[in-house]
Symmetry: D2
Subunit: 313 residues, 4 copies
Amino acid sequence: MTEPTTYAYFGPAGTFTEAALRSTSPAEGSVLTPYATVPLALDAVRGGAADLAMVPIENSVEGAVPATLDDLAGGAPLVITAEVLLPVNFALLARRGTSLDDVRRVGTHPHAEAQCRRWLSQTLPGAAYVTASSTAAAAEALATGTAAYDAALSARIAATTYGLEVLADQVGDNPDAVTRFALLSRPVPPPLPTGADRTTLVCYIRHDHPGALMQILEELSVRGVNMTTIVSRPTGERLGHYRFFIDCDGHVDDAPVGEALMGLRRVCAEVRYLGSYRRAGVAPAPAERAQADARFREAQAWLARVREEGAAY
Amino acid sequence: MTEPTTYAYFGPAGTFTEAALRSTSPAEGSVLTPYATVPLALDAVRGGAADLAMVPIENSVEGAVPATLDDLAGGAPLVITAEVLLPVNFALLARRGTSLDDVRRVGTHPHAEAQCRRWLSQTLPGAAYVTASSTAAAAEALATGTAAYDAALSARIAATTYGLEVLADQVGDNPDAVTRFALLSRPVPPPLPTGADRTTLVCYIRHDHPGALMQILEELSVRGVNMTTIVSRPTGERLGHYRFFIDCDGHVDDAPVGEALMGLRRVCAEVRYLGSYRRAGVAPAPAERAQADARFREAQAWLARVREEGAAY
Amino acid sequence: MTEPTTYAYFGPAGTFTEAALRSTSPAEGSVLTPYATVPLALDAVRGGAADLAMVPIENSVEGAVPATLDDLAGGAPLVITAEVLLPVNFALLARRGTSLDDVRRVGTHPHAEAQCRRWLSQTLPGAAYVTASSTAAAAEALATGTAAYDAALSARIAATTYGLEVLADQVGDNPDAVTRFALLSRPVPPPLPTGADRTTLVCYIRHDHPGALMQILEELSVRGVNMTTIVSRPTGERLGHYRFFIDCDGHVDDAPVGEALMGLRRVCAEVRYLGSYRRAGVAPAPAERAQADARFREAQAWLARVREEGAAY
Amino acid sequence: MTEPTTYAYFGPAGTFTEAALRSTSPAEGSVLTPYATVPLALDAVRGGAADLAMVPIENSVEGAVPATLDDLAGGAPLVITAEVLLPVNFALLARRGTSLDDVRRVGTHPHAEAQCRRWLSQTLPGAAYVTASSTAAAAEALATGTAAYDAALSARIAATTYGLEVLADQVGDNPDAVTRFALLSRPVPPPLPTGADRTTLVCYIRHDHPGALMQILEELSVRGVNMTTIVSRPTGERLGHYRFFIDCDGHVDDAPVGEALMGLRRVCAEVRYLGSYRRAGVAPAPAERAQADARFREAQAWLARVREEGAAY
């Protein structure tokens, strides 16, 4: 009998991250443990307390999640094995008996506040905003009576988890807002390529070398590898020193991506591979992938003949 | 008699931002008003309540300050007219009678917590961390007895401002940590070039166009303009849609920077100019600047002769 | 009464170059004088003996005409004011009484030989080839009885000029072969832009600088200027030192071409402008030209506002 | 007993090409056969009549030798296995009894005329120039009395070969003039890398694709491969359609050159490999070569670990 899989996730229970994890249909018997911070959830995997960790990695309104990126760039290596996209749906929750007119102070996580700012200023123009460590923590504090606010902006499912009422639903300013979550593992070989894959990297440029960022982009473009995201984060060493988190289309086993990675390895001060995995929400194009690979293989065969025979007919 | 200059700054009193503002030696009689958030300080300038606003823009550990960048990218235009670099010096403050051994919970701003994390885990391994809206607010709450923590990580000067004791000084993990502050104004012509200037921009790339970021870098590099920082921030529209904050060496009145800006204007979906100003901590190189400008002027004169006479001898 | 225009052309009479010149419909009373070599025809213009000179510049089979390019790159500057495209139509000419079977030796210019090689080896497999200084000179020598060959490969019109018979017509291997001729003048302002213009340049790269050629191409591409031809010719100084003759779409008065030329002037060891003129065989696209210019003008106006007011709304 | 090696060379005897061939010290018993044209010499190798052919490939004054390049680009593949650099030393030769004052007409090959033009116009201002098929042919015709000129510009050794007198020596305008010769073979594996190697290619760009030439240069530069020469030659298909002969530093067995060649193979319409061989006149830098190769091998090993284990420590 195999051991059940143990999952860490950025908690508490009732956050979007739990919803993201459940959307991957964990096998029955799996153990799902919330952790108070992203670094704690990731360290649970590094230390062996969990097999996998689900954490938020990017939000369409607030952008990359710094705590996740910075933690992945440092410490023992982890790799992304899957990604999940989840629509963001905020609700204003309160204890039974509270009406909208009673709300003077609203508690929530800063990212949630940023995503509901327009709605808040229109609906509750006089209300103050109180910082909470997560949207679920805001709901929980409200339920347990320890909160210094009257209502919480949370995921709708937190109403059930904590026995609260929904004063208003779908209150996010951007109805298309979506969050991207990543499932992290200790280093393992990547899943098989599907024709709709993504590869994630951290690149440290050589700061003594002007044009270093352009050189990175050229290593990708010259092999026809499409970069989908580039996010800068400070290295913490000096003002103006950034490392770059790069998402590109394709799988590390694809010939173009492989050759581009070798190029990055040569021109960067450091490259950390963060995984190749199936892109969420994108239809696979295995024919396109096969075509690009075939072009690389043909060129390899041609070069081999040139080297062995002095010509290729 | 001229009106005294009025300054807004990211407060409360006793933060690093006030220290940055005071380092510019405001004229006697100037009015310095703290604002609770960066957007409020900037809106004070936009609305005319203040002439200038000092806000943090980048930190060597935490990187760009999102609230500042995002506010500058939206709303009515503001321009940076000066920058200030300030070493970051954190101290652990407490009320009289508290010793290090008594500290169970520490309140501070998340950026400060991030910059003292190593010291905290070594010196106060069991202590919990409580979020405050600023390092000065943490000190103030401690002083007024409303804090849910025993000590505050703040700028050292907050000890004086709020009558607290210094339990430990210089507790930042990186002794070279520095913060960059910007002085913002309603649009005005830039200060005169000095030979050690910086120009700041926000560029929105065309997302339907792969290679758009590389195109931006080429517009700079082809004119020999050195990019010193590039920071990505989400536009808030869609996952993976970022705008780029770019710092480059040189002044908008310099011929190379001017031509590069026109190029960016043509290839970007949108460019917002955020000011040309004297770089802090860099010696001016007016000869170099004059040389680059001379090359551009010589080429302009040559082209004019070619157009008028059909040749240039 | 104005003086009649005097034309020099690469002769003798009866060559393709004369046909090219006549295709431009010189005004009645114009004087057309053949010169024995391209340099002599060009020097006639430089010295004032002629107003304009027609010379071949590029052939679709043999490529650029070295004598023309090298002469234009050195000596006193000349500019191209018009170009002519002419289909190449070779005929085998002989004196009355000679039949194909009698032909043992064929005289012609090496370029003509190269363009009829397949036909010659199929039709006259045993015939020897004798070098002549031009296709017309070959016909003339045949007519005057001084030739060491039995037939001449020439332009068809040489049959009339020299009283020869046509043994075979249309004998060129490539029925689409075409030659491009240029009309050269002492430096004059370029003709007005038409929306279908070409600009010709000679660029000398800095040989101490790897990547210098790529830099040249970038100066064009970054402004959206399309290079149609690039031809290398040795500078004569050292092995491997080449100058580059570049044709690009557009007119020196067009904003994109003007800015690109200034860029080339800055990065090249030397740039010589060889004229902007109407492209032969291409329909004008004035709307496209206006659009590109408008983008440049808009960016100029934007930059002017930024420099004067500190922002552009 | 092994067969003696048979050499073809661009003749006749007494040209610079024979001198170049003899400078390689052919083994005793080798057979050296002159051919009237470069294509004939190369076809002798293709057809098996000769093992190797020596032909001129580039001249520091006249540039690439078109007949050689065009022949190498077409027909059955040949590869360069060695190169020779030879200083060009022209002498004016005449029959016994002729003095400089008697010379009215000078016969020589057009390339030689171009390289002595200044000397001719100063020393023999009134003399006419008569085309010959080679400098040696000019001397031979003079010796046999069939020449229509009084003196020949030839290699000095032709005086001995044909029993002529030297009227003037070292008459080339450029005392540093040098010609590069190539030794060609039917396809064979390249000689071992030496750390001072050159690789020669013909690249056909995709003409429907603006920026195609820049793409070629990028495939080289992104791998740090230094291009030493690029020469354009018409494909003969259409006006403005050129193929490019490229010399670059390094050996096809070097990892950077190999990867660059695969890249060219993918982006070009066609690539023909013309050989990797020891550069003449350049000191080997095996340490540099080993370093570049090591960087590529390290990156390959890193990628292999990433693909197999999901991380590389």
